[in-house]
Amino acid sequence: MYKTTWNEKLFDTLNVIVLILLACATLYPFIYTLTVSLSLPSEFKLPGLKLFPRDPTLASYAHVLDQTGIGRAFFNSLQRTVIGVAVLLAATAMTAYPLSRKGFPHRGLVMKLFVFSMLFSGGLIPMYLLIRNLGLLDSVWALVLPGAVSAFNLIIMRNFFQAIPEEIIDSAKIDGAGEWRVLFRIVLPLSTPVLAVVALWAGVHHWNAWFDAMIYIQDLDKQVLQLFVRRAVIEESDELASQVELLQAGNYSSETLKAATVMVATIPILCIYPFIQRFFVKGIMLGSVKG
């Protein structure tokens, strides 16, 4: 049996230290924003690293959650995320799997089409007109369909599919399995890690996206949560208004509200990662089965 050397123990120790330092550094913005969001506006302006609020208050959260329509916006965001991820996973997997099979006709050409689309786009105006002509304005499909089959996800997924040993698929086919069966019974279960990654990417993308909603969704009842965040975070673009009127508004502390808004929009999506993580481990077990 293999024995750990002194050398390796040193490596393990250093590794743990490095990772802990990294964790501290990456945790900081979260702590900082959380602290600010829990502070009184006047306290925000005090100096310091803001590792904990001196006098915690939920006032900013109360204000943020009190906004008209925020519950509705939360639901809309959830809706687009769930539908978006489901449609994206299904459509991308169904498109990627054929492209991972060696004999699929025009495979090279299709891949080139995908890559090209990643680099060039027609821009905002034609896209808006397309969405409008398809009658998708003010519909969740305007947010879901355009990115449902994107080159990036497709290529990543196809590459993982390709890594599945040919023999497994062939033997399944000899047993009489059709392509659909192969996809759902063999390829997808063996690819849970990449499905998890793509689902995570898609979920986070849909949760965080605001530009498309801003353009395609005009009905205020259908707006998404991130537009609330944007309203809180972006600087007043109008120089004229900013100089005097904002100063005069005075009793508005945007910083704590900003932080609370960011937290309200961020925390829900942070919660899904631990669930996604399980798939990474599961993948290892399946991997051992297939060997």
Binding site: Y2, E8, V16, V18, L19, L22, A23, A25, T26, L27, P29, F30, Y32, T33, L49, A91, M94, T95, Y97, P98, G103, F104, G108, M111, K112, L113, V115, S117, M118, L119, S121, G122, G123, I125, P126, M127, P146, A148, S150, I155, I156, N159, F160, A163, W180, L183, P193, V194, V197, V204, V233, V262, T266, P274, F280, V281, K282, G283, I284, G287
Partner: protein, 314 residues
């Protein structure tokens, strides 16, 4: 259609062969078409919009009806003072990022992979991806405080007797800060795809290697890294298309008048030239970096295929 039929008639053997492949793959094609259709409609139908970069866009005439402007918008874009400077900065930052930021998530994935305590591994993983969720507007504010003269970072340096430095203001340290803060923001999130790849490695390989008495290093070098190579290759190829997009949000939020010389990138340059939204010039700028990216991807994909025929995007 007619000509296709003619071609088919001329080469009956090949045509039949092709039909055979279609037929053989028909279920795959049925599976493929719906997704492809969605892709095609939303990616290629609006593609005619590219013309706008070559047109003098009149809203009332539409894109197709507007008069052609030739390369006028490109000329306008590149004629500005400081274009070459912006291009040079962009390339320098891009190269630095490929050198330091691109490998960072891979290294993180490898380091985490060596951790055996699963709760520790999971916790670090979860924490490391947090900064991804904060916009650079927010991160910029935090960084200016933390890296300022009186900020936390200089206080830490002070314990080691080092003099305080205005890290984000000094032009000499700006690129370093851009690279470090980018790693900080993206390392955890970027490593997720590598975790997925690591999860796919057959554990029996390790068991066999351990039984053979292979050291840790040899295992990493001969088992872990090789199984990451396909993902690394594809991530590299895909990112090359955006070579000239070196992170507008980050640079824009970290730049100050003292660093705008070294920090001015193509995106900030274009923004400056578009006081009011100018679709034509914006499109021209986009096409420029897309063509650049496309060339890089084509060359890189070719090189990758030279090395291993099965890798690459197409």
């Amino acid at each position: 259609m007619k000509s296709e039929a003619a071609v088919a008639a001329a080469r009956p053997g090949r045509f039949r062969e092709r039909l055979q492949t279609y037929r053989h793959n028909r279920f795959l094609i049925y599976m493929f078409l719906p997704g492809f259709l969605i892709f095609f409609i939303f990616s290629y139908v609006p593609m005619y919009g590219i013309m706008i970069a070559f047109k003098d866009y009149r809203i009332l005439d539409g894109i197709a009806g507007s008069p052609w402007a030739g390369l006028e918008h490109f000329r306008y874009l590149f004629a500005g003072q400081g274009f070459t400077n912006a291009l040079r900065n962009t390339v320098v930052i891009a190269l630095l990022k490929y050198l330091f930021v691109f490998p960072a998530p891979i290294i993180l994935a490898l380091l985490l992979n060596e951790i055996r305590l699963s709760w520790f591994r999971r916790t670090i993983q979860t924490i490391s991806y947090l900064p991804h969720f904060f916009s650079w507007v927010i991160l910029g504010g935090i960084l200016f405080t933390f890296l300022g003269r009186e900020g936390g970072f200089n206080q830490i340096l002070g314990y080691f007797g080092l003099p305080p430095v205005n890290w984000l203001i000094e032009p000499s340290s700006f690129y370093g800060m851009v690279v470090i803060t980018d790693i900080w923001q993206s390392i955890g999130w970027g490593s997720i795809v590598y975790f997925a790849a690591l999860a796919g490695i057959d554990p029996t390989l390790y068991e066999a290697a351990i039984a053979d008495g292979a050291s840790r290093w040899r295992r990493i070098w001969h088992i872990t890294l090789p199984s990451l190579v396909p993902v690394i290759t594809i991530m590299l190829l895909l990112s090359l298309g955006n070579f000239l997009q070196v992170g507008f949000d980050q640079i824009y939020n970290l730049m100050t008048p003292t660093t705008s010389d070294v920090g001015d990138i193509l995106d900030t340059y274009v923004l400056r030239r578009l006081l009011t939204m100018d679709y034509e010039v914006g499109a021209a700028a986009g096409i420029f970096s897309s063509v650049f990216g496309l060339l890089l991807v084509i060359v890189a994909n070719y090189l990758v295929k030279l090395y291993d025929k099965d890798q690459g995007i197409w």
